[in-house]
Amino acid sequence: MIDKKEVQHIANLARLYLEQKEIEKMEKELSLILDYFNLLKDVDVEDVKASFGSINTQGNLSIKEATREDSVIKGDNTKEILELIPEKENGFVKVKSIFNK
C-alpha cells in the first residue's frame, strides 16, 4: 500500500528523521493501518457535508465567531518565554541561515 520511498517522502514532509529500521517498520505498520482505514470507503458519503469540528450538524450549537480587538496588551511572562528559547541573542530568537551562502 505504501512503499519505502513513499515513507521517506512523507517523513521529509513531516520533518522527521527516521532511521532505516524505522522506515522499514513504518512501511509495514502504516500499510496495515491504512488498509484498515479503507473501511471508510464502504460508507456512502455522497451529498454528505464534511464536519471539520464537533459542533452538531444542525448548527444550533454553532460556536460564535470569536474575534477580539487587535490591540497591544502587556504580557506578563516575556521573561519565562525567552528563557525557553534554545538559541537567542539580545532577546531575539536565533535561527539558522535559510539562504545558501
Binding site: 522527521l16 460508507v43 534554545p86
Partner: protein
C-alpha cells in the same frame, strides 16, 4: 488510613470542623505517594514544598474564619499535559523533558483560586496518544488494582493516582477516550465534558477538534463538584462557551435510556457484555425505560477518529521545531535549518507519536486528502447524525466504556491496531462533541468494568443525576 478514601465533601467538612488541618491532609497524601508510588508510577513529578505552602494558606484562611471553597485544601493531581506556571510540563515526551510552563492553564488558574492543593503531575502516553500509558517516554504506570496490568490511557497516571488514593481527584484530557477508558480500567469515575464546556487554554494540544479536559474522581458527586469549578467560557479558548447552568429537569420516571446494539457486537469481551447487560436488566427492574437503539455508523468511528486525530496532530505537533522551545539540536554547528528540524523531531518524538504524525501527514498530503481526510470528516457528520437521531428517541445512552478490562503490560504495545481498538466505545462521543461519563459497574476477576453514560450536548447535570442514581444501585449490589 481512612482519610485517604474520603470524598471532597467529606474532607471539606473535616477541614471546616477542624478535625484535620489542610497541611496535615496534604501530608497524609504526600506520604501515601511516598509509600506506594514506587509500585504504581502514577506521578512524573511531585511538588512537596509548594503543596504544603498552598495548604498552609488554606489553614490560615480557616483560622481567620474566612470563607473557603469546597475544594480548598483538597489535594489533587494534574495530567502532565496541563500547564502550571513554573512547573515542568513534559506531555510524556522527551522533546519537552525540560520544558518549564510559562503560564497557568485556565483550569489550573480556576483550581488555584478555589484553593485546591496541587500535589504533582501524572504520567501519560506521549502527547496523550495511546490507551495504556505505555507510550510515556519516562515510565510505565501500573494499574493499582493489578500491578501486572496497564491503567489504560492516555490519562493513566491520573486514573491510577485516584484509584491508589494518592490524591482526592485528578484532571485528565480526553481526545478519544483518554479520561473514560483509564477510569474504566482502574475503577474510578471519569468525565469527558461537552466540547467547549471547559477551556483548553494551557492544555498541550493533540487534536483540537476533539480535546477536552475533565475530572477523574472517586465518585459521581466529586466529578460534578470539580466540573463546576473548571467549566465556562474563556477568552483564551475561542471554542469555549458559557454554560447556561440550567437546572436539570431530571426525573427518573420520564427518562428514556437507549442501548445501542452496535456496542454489544463483535470485539467485546463476553464477561464485560454480560456484566453490563445484567446491570441493565437490574435497572429495568427499578422502573427505568430502556429501549434498544441503533447507531449505524459505529463501526466506522475508529478509522474516522484515528484519521482525523492524526491529521490534526500532525499539524499541531509541527510547533516542536527546535527553535522556540523544547529539546533542540540547533547548537550543532554542522546542521543546516532542515537538518535541525529533522534531527530535533526524529530524536525528540517516540514511536507512537511518529506513527501518528506520519499517518496524518500522509492523509493530508496531495492526492490523498479527499480519499482520507475529507472522507473521514464526512463520515464524522454521519456519526453525529446517528446521535442526533438517537436523542430524538431517548435522553441518554448507556454502553460499556471499554470492550475489555485492563490488559497486561506489554500485551498490545507492539500491535498498534489492536491498541487502537481499545477506544472503540469512546471515540464517538469526541467526534460528536458529546458529554460522556464512565463509572465503575463491577469487577471481573478483580478487574474493574466501566459503564458509560453518553448524553446530549451540555446536559452534564443529567449525567450526574443518572450517575448518582446508578451508583447507589451498584453500591447495593
Amino acid at each position: 488510613m481512612e482519610l485517604l478514601n474520603l470524598t471532597i465533601k467529606q474532607l471539606h467538612k473535616k477541614l471546616l470542623d477542624k478535625e484535620i488541618s489542610a497541611v496535615e491532609l496534604t501530608k497524609v497524601f504526600l506520604s501515601q505517594i511516598d509509600k506506594i508510588d514506587k509500585n504504581i508510577n502514577a506521578f512524573l513529578n511531585v511538588s512537596k514544598d509548594s503543596a504544603i505552602l498552598q495548604a498552609k494558606e488554606i489553614d490560615e484562611k480557616i483560622s481567620q474564619k474566612q470563607e473557603i471553597s469546597i475544594l480548598a485544601g483538597i489535594p489533587m493531581a494534574l495530567k502532565d499535559n496541563i500547564l502550571v506556571k513554573g512547573e515542568k510540563c513534559t506531555a510524556g515526551s522527551k522533546i519537552l523533558e525540560d520544558y518549564i510552563a510559562p503560564y497557568d492553564a485556565t483550569c489550573v488558574k480556576k483550581l488555584k483560586k478555589a484553593g485546591a492543593v496541587f500535589l504533582g503531575k501524572t504520567n501519560l502516553d506521549e502527547f496523550a496518544m495511546g490507551s495504556s500509558t505505555e507510550n510515556s517516554a519516562f515510565k510505565i504506570t501500573h494499574n493499582p488494582q493489578d500491578l501486572s496490568c496497564v491503567p489504560g490511557g492516555s490519562s493513566g497516571g491520573s486514573a491510577a493516582s485516584v484509584k491508589a488514593n494518592e490524591c482526592v481527584f485528578a484532571l485528565g484530557s480526553d481526545t478519544g477516550g483518554s479520561i473514560r477508558q483509564p477510569a474504566s480500567l482502574c475503577g474510578v469515575v471519569g468525565l469527558k465534558p461537552t466540547y467547549g464546556a471547559v477551556s483548553r487554554y494551557g492544555l498541550i494540544a493533540f487534536a483540537s477538534s476533539l480535546d477536552q479536559i475533565g475530572p477523574l474522581t472517586k465518585n459521581v458527586e466529586d466529578a460534578k463538584i470539580v466540573f463546576d469549578f473548571i467549566k465556562g467560557q474563556d477568552k483564551k479558548d475561542s471554542t469555549s462557551v458559557e454554560l447556561n447552568s440550567k437546572k436539570s429537569n431530571f426525573n427518573l420516571k420520564n427518562i428514556k435510556i437507549g442501548l445501542p446494539k452496535e456496542y454489544f457486537q463483535e470485539g467485546i469481551n463476553p464477561g464485560v457484555e454480560k456484566m453490563i447487560k445484567d446491570f441493565i436488566r437490574k435497572i429495568q427492574g427499578k422502573g427505568l425505560n430502556i429501549e434498544e437503539i441503533s447507531l449505524p455508523h459505529t463501526k466506522y468511528a475508529i478509522p474516522c477518529y484515528f484519521l482525523i486525530s492524526a491529521c490534526e496532530a500532525s499539524a499541531n505537533l509541527s510547533r516542536y521545531d527546535g527553535i522556540k522551545y523544547g529539546k533542540s539540536n540547533i547548537k550543532e554547528k554542522e546542521l543546516d535549518i532542515l537538518d535541525t528540524y529533522l534531527k530535533t523531531r526524529g530524536q525528540g518524538f517516540g514511536k507512537e507519536v511518529k506513527r501518528r504524525i506520519m499517518l496524518g501527514t500522509y492523509a493530508l498530503s496531495s492526492g490523498y486528502y479527499d480519499a482520507y481526510y475529507l472522507r473521514a470528516q464526512k463520515v464524522r457528520t454521519l456519526i453525529k447524525q446517528d446521535f442526533e437521531n438517537a436523542f430524538k428517541k431517548v435522553d441518554m445512552i448507556l454502553t460499556p466504556t471499554s470492550p475489555f478490562t485492563a490488559f497486561k503490560i506489554g500485551e498490545k504495545v507492539e500491535d498498534a491496531l489492536s491498541m487502537y481498538l481499545a477506544d472503540a466505545f469512546t471515540v464517538s462521543a469526541n467526534l460528536a462533541g458529546l458529554p460522556a461519563l464512565s463509572m465503575p459497574c463491577g469487577e471481573i476477576e478483580n478487574l474493574p468494568v466501566g459503564l458509560q453514560i453518553i448524553s446530549n450536548n451540555f446536559t452534564e447535570n443529567d449525567i450526574f443525576e443518572m450517575g448518582s442514581f446508578l451508583e447507589k444501585i451498584i453500591a447495593n449490589n
